[in-house]
Every structure is written in C-alpha cells, then in structure tokens.
Symmetry: C2
Subunit: 218 residues, 2 copies
DNA sequence: AGCAGCCCCCTAACGGTGTTAGGGGGCGCG
DNA sequence: CGCGCCCCCTAACACCGTTAGGGGGCTGCT
C-alpha cells in the first residue's frame, strides 16, 4: 500500500492511488491523508500537485472513465447507441461508488472526448439534426448516471449493514405490500415489480425506450 | 436563525432546520452542529431524535419532496407522465443541492407514495403491462435525477467562483472549439449545441423521447 | 406530598477531516 | 562552488460526526 517515494510522483500516480483508496474504502472513506499514504507521502504534499480535494476528485473521475473504449463500428446507429449506454453503465459499476464520483462532474479526458466524438458522428451520419444529436448524447449520459446512482448506492448503504441486494429488495417489497390496499392498490399490486432486483432488464428497458424515441425522430 | 427551545422539538422541526441550512450553505456546508444551532440546541442533542447524519439526510430528502403534488387528472397518460417529469425536476431545482441529497436515497414519504400510486394507475389504465408500468416509473425518476444532478451541480461549483451559467457554458464551448478539427470534427462543429445553456429544451427533448419510446410499446 | 422514572437536553471529549504556514533538503544550472 | 527552485516535510488550525455520561424537569404512581 504505502510505497517508498517512487521519485517525483505525478498527478497520474495520485489518481491511481485515489482509485485504489476508493475501491478499498468507498467515497466516504476517501481522505487526503489516505491517498497521501497510499502514494507514500504526507497529506499536505498533495497540495503541491492539486489545488484541493475537489480537483483530486476531478482526477479520480477522469481515471474512472479512462477505461472507456470506442465500440467497434458495427451495426447501425441504434445498436451502437445502446452499446455506449451499456458500456458506460458497466464502467460505473466496475468501480465502487463510481457513479457518485462522476455524477455532477464534467469529465474531459481524451478517452471521453473520443467516445463523444464517435457518438456524435454516428448520430449525425444517421440523419439526426445537429442539435438533436447533441441532446441525444446528453440524454444517454443523464439516464445512465441517474440509473447507476440509484442502482449502486442503496447497495453500499445496506451492505454496510450486512444485507444482500436480494434481502434489501425483499424488505422494500414488504413495505409496499403492507400499505392499505384501498388507498394504494397499484403499489400493493405491483410491489413485486417495483422491487424486482433484476437491474439488467430494468436498465435495458429504459435504454430501449430511449432508443425507440430517438428513432421516431428520423 | 437560532431560536429558543420552542419546547420539545420534533423530527419535523429538525427536517425544516436542515432544509434552511441546506438552502443557506449548500450540502457541503450542512453539518450536525449547524442544524442544531438552527433549531436552538446543542449538536449531540440531535442524536436523541436521529440515529446519525445519514438518517437526518433521509429526513431532509423527504422534506424536499414533501411539496410534491398530484397533477390534476387531465389529459391522457402521456401528458400526465410528462407533467410528472417536469414537476419532479422543478421540485429538485427549487432547493439548493436537492438532486445531490435525493440522488441515491429511497424516499417513502406519503406524498411520494401518493404520486407513485397515481402514476402507476395511469400507466396501467393506459394498457401497460404491470412490469412495464413499474419500469416506466423508474425510468422517469432515473432520468430526472440524472439530468438535474448535472444541471445544478456545475452551477454551484462555478458560481462559487463568481461565474454565471452563461459564462460557464461559453468557457466550455471554447474548450470544444479549441480541439483539433481533424481528430474531433464533430465536437468542434457541435460545440455550440453541446454547451447550449438552455436546459429547459434539453430536458424537454429527453422527456419527449422517453414518452415516445413508451408510447411505441402500446 | 413525595418519590421514582423517563424524556430530553447538556458538557466534555475522542479521533479524524481539509487546508494553510513555513521550513528545509536535494537537485540542476550558472 | 553556490544560487534557486522544486518538492516534500512538520506543526497547527478550525471543524467535523459521534459517544459517554450527567442532570434537570415533567409525569404519574403511591
């Protein structure tokens, strides 16, 4: 964990260390001091490379999405649009608390720009107007971020209490089922579906609806 | 601000005080001690009413959405679905950092349940299958939360530096335009649209696409 | 009337946080 | 050789969430 001063640490080293700490302790447990010791240094030394914690989190956000890959140019725009959505979600799910880190942050790493560029190219090539292409791209990222945020954050909250995802959703289901049926008949009836822990099909459902809506524009 | 012990404070008082502190100092500046003095009490006293800060944030989340209203039953399911989306966004934009507070949190206040109940009722009445109705509802909240999160968080970050939204988007536009045109032609060409500060039409675009995609299911 | 008990708030203190001030060692260059 | 700059250090500040333990005042029973 703590390594000898590997000689002149860089912002990349710091980002990597932050990523390691994030994975181990979660976003709440990520502190300047822990990142510092992870990189083999005292906390205030970080401030030579980084203005403040916010900037370190920017670095961390870029590092999280740095693994992004441009999908092979296969299939039509729709298939590729879907694939971007799926990969983005996978990327966020791969690192602990990634959605919370990335959420309100504007990441402009080279990989992100390349993906965005490719995405816009496909959309424009398919016949979308310029403004629509831009908004379609924004729509996708808003949906994915919102989805994953809800997907992985109750997880961390409840797993701290030692519960599995299945247990959590079952408990939530009980909450809905226990409501008075005369005032909330639909909640009671759909409790099972509302708390279905199968997040993959839930995500895919939204993704398909969005793609359908965009297709209707052409 | 700090008031005399208004005699036996309740969780509602605490929630109201937290809301006031949130509005004044933002989520980052919201501390147990500040909420305590706001309500006229010492910090540790809060722990009699609340298990920890996380639970206080749950209260705060409920308080934020407590203003939710069930739209009048006017128009078809689509119009009402759109209206729910718009109102949810308006609700989150109304309070500072509201999206960050609500984001990964499961709110189950009576108003939220009433809205959800009504929403499901409309969707089922329109002919959606049970599972689809549940997922459509989830889709809407994921989109709105993701959208508003990105919408209002760069705002707070940059307004701390004394910049207006227009200035921020103009600066972002410059970033895109400055890219090498041979590697990122689409980003350069669409810079204007990508950084268009008109969030209302951006939101409406996504909302309409989602509604279209759902309509295609019937 | 008196006393038990509980509700609710208090003070004190803990370890940890982000961040600033200021010092100093070691390297590259004149 | 020595100047200067880069980069890290120690010390310290104010603030944070949270726990321990004490006590005052009301309720209700005897």
């Amino acid at each position: 964990m703590a390594q000898p001063p590997s000689r002149t640490l860089t912002r990349e080293h710091i980002a990597a260390a932050a990523l390691a700490v994030l994975e181990r302790e979660g976003l709440a447990g990520l502190s300047m001091r822990k990142v510092a010791t992870e990189v083999g240094v005292q906390a205030p030394s970080l401030y030579w490379h980084v203005r403040n914690k916010e900037e370190l989190l920017d670095l961390l956000g870029d590092a999280i999405i740095a693994d992004a890959e441009i999908p092979l140019r296969t299939g039509d725009w729709r298939e590729q649009y879907l694939e971007y959505g799926r990969r983005y979600r996978a990327l966020l799910l791969a690192k602990r608390d990634a959605a919370k880190v990335v959420a309100g942050r504007l990441t402009t790493g080279p990989r992100v720009l390349a993906v965005l560029e490719d995405q816009l190219d496909r959309l424009r090539g398919a016949g979308f107007a310029d403004a629509d292409a831009a908004m379609a791209s924004y729509l996708l990222s808003a949906y994915v971020q919102g989805f994953v945020l809800q997907e992985q954050s109750p997880l961390s909250a409840a797993e701290a209490a030692g519960a599995s995802r299945g247990q959590v959703s079952r408990a939530a289901g009980e909450t809905f089922r226990a409501l008075p049926a005369e005032t909330h008949p639909n909640l009671v009836a759909l409790a099972e579906h509302l708390t279905d822990p199968d997040m993959d099909t839930r995500f895919e459902f939204g993704l398909q609806r969005i793609a359908d809506g965009l297709a209707a524009l052409l």
